[in-house]
Symmetry: C2
Subunit: 317 residues, 2 copies
């Protein structure tokens, strides 16, 4: 049996590489997911996940995370959790419970303390500065408060044939306190069935959830579509439907992996992702939607990577 991992955004790369090391040595998908997502949560310069994630309108970092085991359909999730170093670890732990496996708000944070998860003030000085600056811009330039909603979503297939999926985000920058998106909603932001495959989403959660996109992609793979065809069909047909019926549409991107290690992505915006398989070392790609409801995928350029690296560490003035 083979193994593979895929994750949303360039930020997934380092974590995914660690997860792939585990998988290559015969490790479990659930462990690979937790390792990989933690890596993203811990890196202070990714401003939409974990430590360094941008705060809500009140300046507090509230996070969402989801986990699903595709063997058993176990699901664990937290929404609006705060002061917790690794929301993905809490979500995974909750997935073992038959009752009370999805917790929100103060109850989620309490659970983390009671179960000895590391508490941490997740607001970095940099994130605080970006928040202060944004508050001023909103007033001075009449800007929309909302910007940035990049969830890390990872799917893993291990050599035992088990698929797991994990997601984590600090959510929409400047969100209202308590706001949650699709990240912790099973079927919307993530789904996995080890007999078929898994899917994960990133983007404007309020719109992704309207289409139950992760469940739909896994379902389409289940009736024989490749991960790429399943992503294209689910994402582009829903994009059209939402434009017709709702009149507007946020940005979103989906990734999928099947039980044989094949993968796919679809997006309505420029979208980077990381993927590794038994054959191909972890690498970063960039995807764009095309006019004919397909997805154009190219290797990332060193130029893009250099600009990204500079951008995420640029001084905040």
């Amino acid at each position: 049996m083979t193994y593979a991992m895929i994750g949303t955004w360039r930020m997934a790369y380092e974590g995914l590489s660690k997860g792939m090391d585990l998988l290559s040595e015969g490790g479990k998908s659930a462990d690979a997911i937790e390792t990989a997502v933690k890596e993203v949560e811990n890196y202070p310069f990714f401003k939409s996940v974990g430590y360094g994630g941008l705060p809500n309108a009140n300046g507090l970092v509230e996070m969402d995370a989801g986990f699903m085991n595709g063997d058993t359909f176990e699901v664990g999730a937290v929404m609006g959790i705060s002061d917790v170093k690794n929301p993905i670890a809490v979500a995974r732990s909750l997935s073992h419970e038959h009752y009370n496996s999805v917790l929100v708000g103060a109850g989620a944070s309490q659970y983390a303390t009671l179960n000895n998860f590391e508490r941490k003030n997740m607001l970095t000085e940099r994130a605080h500065k970006i928040w202060e600056k944004r508050k001023q811009e909103i007033v001075e330039k009449n800007l929309s408060p909302y910007d940035g909603h990049d969830t890390v979503g990872m799917i893993s297939l291990d050599q035992m044939g088990s698929i797991a999926v994990g997601t984590s985000t600090s959510g929409l920058f400047m969100k209202k306190p308590g706001r949650t998106g699709d990240t912790a909603l099973v079927g919307d932001g993530f789904y996995a069935d080890s007999e078929i495959g898994g899917a994960a989403a990133t983007g404007l959660g309020e719109d992704i959830m309207k289409g139950c996109l992760c469940y739909e992609i896994v379902r389409l793979m289940g009736i024989g579509l490749t991960p790429q065809k399943a992503c294209d069909q689910a994402v582009y047909s829903f994009t059209k439907k939402l434009e017709q019926r709702y009149g507007k549409i946020g940005e979103f991107s989906l990734v999928a992996l099947d039980k044989d290690g094949n993968w796919g992505v679809a997006t309505n915006v420029e979208f980077t992702f990381a993927v590794g398989t038994e054959q191909d070392k972890p690498a970063i790609f960039i995807a764009h939607p095309t006019d004919n409801d397909k997805t154009k995928i190219e290797p990332i350029t060193q130029e893009w990577l250099d600009a990204y690296s500079k951008r995420i560490k640029a001084p905040i003035d």
Copy 2:
């Protein structure tokens, strides 16, 4: 065009009757849903929804509600909201927002205050007594704390052909603080598409969400299945899958309504529901699963209704 409503449990009946009155006069589905669900939330003797709902392990009533407009796919939802008279009204109001349409915990309660929704201590003396009694029983008789998780879920079709769905619950009795189920998760606890139909769920949310059952039922109606066949196929095939893969299975029941006013239900436990159409006045039925993956539906008996009425008002000693 015709009109119809269906709602979970016997408790849906009075509210559904009021909603049907609105629909017969040309009213909107969204108004019928809000009217109907509010009626259930306001009645103190329904112990799993709104006022009089049973509290969490700490003795606090934390509620979940969801709303979806099948014309536009607008979704609004609250999870772990407290001290709010009508969670369904908050969820419906949120559905008009493009951002921040799903709120959890303290943020959800704050939104209700800021937007002038009526605040109310939702813990009745009766619910408090039941909680005290249960706490003792758990210690003395080593009982499982969890019991009762009956969401009211209503689907409405109006004469303009619009379908809306709403759900509301105080959740699992004795749940951990912050626990939420499927009730406020779109696709899991509710879904609506006015070109097809709608679905709503009740039961152990932790298991319902594993199958994305409401989205799946609407999808099946979309490819031509009747609401009854869609419910049977989604619910009984998922029940089997969950038994095989997860090894255990909670109780759950689903209701569905299509764009022509046809309805269906499926359940893995004795389940009552209320339904009304242009042709048939609102009435209460009782459903049971059969051995051949179908659902047996019969009119409720007066005997059953009398016993129910007595039971929900019986003294707590």
